[in-house]
């Protein structure tokens, strides 16, 4: 009991975390130039999707009562990539993540994590995952140091010095009680706890929820920087499009428990377009075109279609019609079928 409370040895000299690498949301589809590049260029390069999947999910299902929270989700997350898991509130993001962590069991489907395929993630697999939850339910009476000591007992790869270093870099006082930390500090503490065992995979469930814009950006910068430096596979969920656009190499869009899209951001931008049809013009999307959204008014009919690049190159719009590229936000809204409701 005493040694839990006993003062730790002096933390190792603090080595700064490389400043983050983020790409600002593209002003247009053509130009997505990085505006805040602090780290060396070779670090910032997004991971090419050539490595085998570290995390592969097939047909994951989970109901709560009669409500299907997750309804046949398929995912592929490759080694070293940052995967943004995008969805509106209640889309099934947290349930999917809780299944990935083995906190709740999947009713159907398989999870292949780090080469081991199971229905439910094992304790051995969990030891190689770092996790930051949406809300932090730490023991309020613990100090950051005692919390680190407690959590460290569960990870054979726990690096006490790294934990102290992370706390110092993140400016979280080690001797402060959790109850005395702000929301942002708690999130940082959670990140330090998740990173200290050098996990192969980092999973974050809306980690910036509740943080102010500055803290949110700072937090995501840290995550990206860590992922790039250590080539750590990072899977984070969010409903903030700009956050995902800035940080993720690939995205998965989940809606009503089903995956609506999975691929690179560029692919999303290139394959999803808006077609405006003039009134009185007959138009039916051809084979290979997936209609994500369709709206009609007296002025025009608007289709948001998804099709392979080859199909778009051969696509000839009807006379008086136009084809437009979409921002990620527009593509996301079209994907999840959200409609603007006038009050």
């Amino acid at each position: 009991m005493d040694n839990l409370a006993s003062p730790e040895s002096e933390p190792a000299p603090v080595a700064p975390i490389e400043p983050a690498v983020c790409v600002e949301p593209a002003a247009s589809l053509e130009a997505a130039a990085p505006v805040e590049t602090i780290a060396p260029a070779e670090v910032v390069t997004p991971i090419e999707v050539i490595s085998p999947p570290v995390l592969e999910v097939r047909g994951l299902r989970r109901h709560f009562g009669r409500v299907p929270a997750v309804d046949g989700v398929d995912l592929n997350v490759h080694e070293g990539e940052i995967y943004g898991f995008l969805g509106v509130n209640g889309a099934g993001k947290t349930t999917t993540i809780r299944m990935l962590l083995g906190i709740i069991a999947a009713e159907e489907g398989t999870i292949s994590l780090l080469g081991e395929t199971t229905r439910r993630t094992s304790v051995a697999q969990k030891r190689r995952i770092g996790y930051v939850s949406q809300e932090q339910y730490f023991y309020p009476w613990m100090t950051c140091r005692t919390l680190g000591r407690f959590v460290g007992a569960f990870y054979p790869t726990w690096d006490k010095a790294e934990f102290s270093r992370l706390l110092a870099v993140l400016e979280v006082p080690e001797e402060r009680r959790v109850s005395q930390l702000s929301g942002g500090m708690r999130a940082k503490l959670a990140l330090a706890l998740a990173l200290a065992p050098h996990p192969a995979v980092l999973i974050l469930d809306e980690p910036t929820a509740g943080l102010d814009p500055l803290a949110r950006r700072e937090f995501m910068q840290l995550i990206v920087s860590q992922a790039r430096q250590h080539r750590r596979t990072t899977f984070f969920s969010s409903h903030l499009i700009d956050e995902v656009e800035r940080c993720a190499d690939r995205v998965g869009i989940i809606h009503q428990g089903r995956m609506r899209f999975e691929g690179a951001l560029a692919e999303l931008r290139e394959t999803v377009r808006r077609v405006r049809i003039a009134p009185g013009v007959e138009f039916t999307p051809g084979a290979g075109f997936d209609t994500w959204r369709e709206e009609s008014s007296e002025i025009e009919r608007v289709f948001v279609l998804r099709a392979p690049m080859a199909a778009w190159s051969e696509f000839i719009p009807p006379a008086g019609s136009s084809v437009e590229s979409l921002s990620l936000e527009d593509a996301f809204i079209a994907c999840v079928g959200t409609r603007v409701v006038a009050l």
Binding site: M1, L4, I103, I104, V123, A124, K126, F154
Partner: protein, 523 residues
């Protein structure tokens, strides 16, 4: 991993553990040093039994709350679940820590008692085995009960109250709880039984404990602990109201069902003289080996007089049944001494008196009988404070109206009550009758209340008053929640209004008017 969890629990709840430890040691010292317990025999093991009955339930309850309920209430189990730790192991550590703590405390208590008694008693291995198994069984039952109970989240207090109520009610209803499973392990033989192992009780306790532990683990693990997390959510106001109603209805229904299946054994008194008048039955017996002729005659006379009075009373109040009354003659009692036999309400009324003393006060006995029989008959409701003025008044009125045959409102009684009437006499005085009675004095208060009934008789007629008294004192009510419920939905003012058309305010107004000073007092 386990060490980390244990350290966490001990550090988190260190103060509570220390408090329980101090309580245990303090209790041991105090009880062990108690001269009365030493005189009662059983050495220090009687002290251990007291500890097992008082300390162990408290410790188990507290441990269940801090180890399980607090974790789920603060949602910190979500933090533990995210760690590479099987959920069952998290629960198992908590279970093992709690159980070990209570068992350790029990072992310490037994060891201290053993050491204390080593020179006074023959300490055999068999005796040690019997004591250890019985203590461990009892603690096992208590802890598993509290462990499962802690998972009930927001329903745990309600469930605890129900269990407690059920045990108390069952005990009062004559169920031999002490003979059942875990309770049999800590019965009155605990400190004295040296040879016989209560194998059946131990087996039941073990099975019950396993079932409760299984229930606890099931609640904590089923559907990935979402059930336990859901139960730990706070109760909404609407749910609170609903659950309260559910508990009340459950208690009433349970009580009714229980009373239906359970019959109370009738009282058997040897050498009984019995008399029946209508629904009233009076039995008398002498608590002596060979009653004298005078004693037998006194018994017969007493039963006859009492039966006559109670029979007439039951008829007046239109009682369909009446509790049996038992008179036990004891030579050793003083003339004014009356001892309540302490029967259960369903068994009737028993009084122990000396019928053959020269100064034997029969009217006082008759009044005592009347009061107690009516209290028992009404399921104790007649003695409820807001109804008690009717009972007090009736005992006076019944005697002074010659059992309802004449007007009791004479000037002597009025004059006596006039001075006794409180200045602030109102409906509130009736509702708080015991306070009013305390201010006035018991005898005066009875006369005062009797005057109220007499006023009612004069103004509203004898039949109306009889209806009112019949509704208040003639209706048999069970002495449980059903009676309480009936009294709540149909209180005394409602019965007064139904029978006489008067509200309490009307009655008080006329009552005061009758007791007002005469306009032209005679010189």
């Amino acid at each position: 991993m386990i060490r980390g969890l244990l350290e966490k629990e001990l550090r988190q709840h260190g103060f509570t553990f220390a408090f329980l430890g101090v309580l245990l040691l303090g209790g041991l010292v105090l009880i062990g040093a108690n001269e009365m317990l030493r005189r009662a025999g059983g050495g220090g093991f009687l002290a251990v039994q007291v500890l097992l009955m008082l300390f162990a339930p408290l410790a188990c309850l507290v441990l269940g709350q801090i180890l399980i309920a607090t974790e789920f209430r603060q949602k910190t189990q979500l933090f533990l679940e995210a760690l590479p730790l099987p959920r069952w192991r998290m629960l198992a550590v908590k279970f093992a820590l709690g159980l070990t703590s209570v068992l350790g405390a029990t072992a310490l208590a037994l060891a201290l008692a053993w050491w204390k008694s080593r020179h006074a008693e023959a300490m055999t291995p068999r005796f040690a085995l019997v004591l250890a198994l019985k203590s461990a069984g009892w603690v096992w039952f208590l802890f598993t009960l509290c462990f499962a109970h802690a998972f009930l989240g927001r329903y745990r207090i309600m469930f605890g109250v129900l269990v407690l109520f059920g045990i108390i009610y069952a005990g009062q209803s004559g169920v031999e709880i002490a003979a059942f499973g875990p309770f049999a392990l800590v019965d009155q033989r605990f400190a004295f039984e040296r040879l016989i192992l209560p194998e059946r009780a131990l087996a039941i306790t073990a099975g019950l404990g396993f079932a409760l532990a299984g229930l606890g683990f099931a609640l904590g693990l089923v559907r990935d602990a979402t059930v336990a997390a859901l139960l730990a959510e706070k109760m909404s106001s609407r749910e609170k109201v609903f659950m309260t109603m559910l508990v009340l209805v459950g208690l009433i229904v349970g009580t009714v069902q229980y009373d239906r299946i359970k019959a109370v054994a009738p009282v058997q008194i040897p050498g009984t003289v019995e008399t029946q008048r209508g629904v009233a039955r009076v039995a008398a017996s002498a608590a002596v080996d060979a009653p004298s002729r005078a004693e037998t005659a006194a018994l017969e006379a007493a039963t006859r007089r009492t039966a006559d009075q109670l029979g007439e009373l039951a008829e007046f109040l239109r009682c369909r049944s009446f509790p049996p009354v038992y008179i036990v003659h004891r030579r050793d009692l003083e003339s004014r001494e009356r001892i309540d036999g302490g029967l259960k309400p369903t068994q009737g009324v028993m009084v122990r008196v000396n019928l053959t003393t020269k100064k034997f006060d029969d009217p006082a006995l008759q009044e005592w009988m009347l009061r107690h029989a009516l209290i028992i008959h009404t399921g104790l409701l007649a003695a409820r404070e807001r109804n008690a003025w009717v009972l007090d008044g009736f005992t006076w009125w019944w005697a002074h109206s010659q059992h309802g045959k004449v007007n009791a409102l004479d000037e002597t009684a009025l004059t006596a009550s006039r001075s006794a009437m409180p200045a602030d006499f109102s409906e509130r005085s009736l509702r708080r009758w015991y306070s009013t009675r305390k201010k006035m004095g018991e005898k005066k208060a009875r006369q005062f209340a009797g005057i109220g009934l007499a006023v009612l008789t004069e103004r509203k007629g004898a039949e109306s008053v009889r209806d009112f008294l019949s509704a208040m004192l003639g209706v048999h009510e069970p002495a449980d929640t059903r009676g309480w419920w009936h009294d709540m939905i149909n209180p005394a003012p409602a019965r007064l209004r139904a029978a006489t058309g008067w509200t309490e305010a009307d009655l008080v107004r006329e009552w005061r008017a009758a007791l007002a000073e005469p306009a032209n007092p005679q010189p």
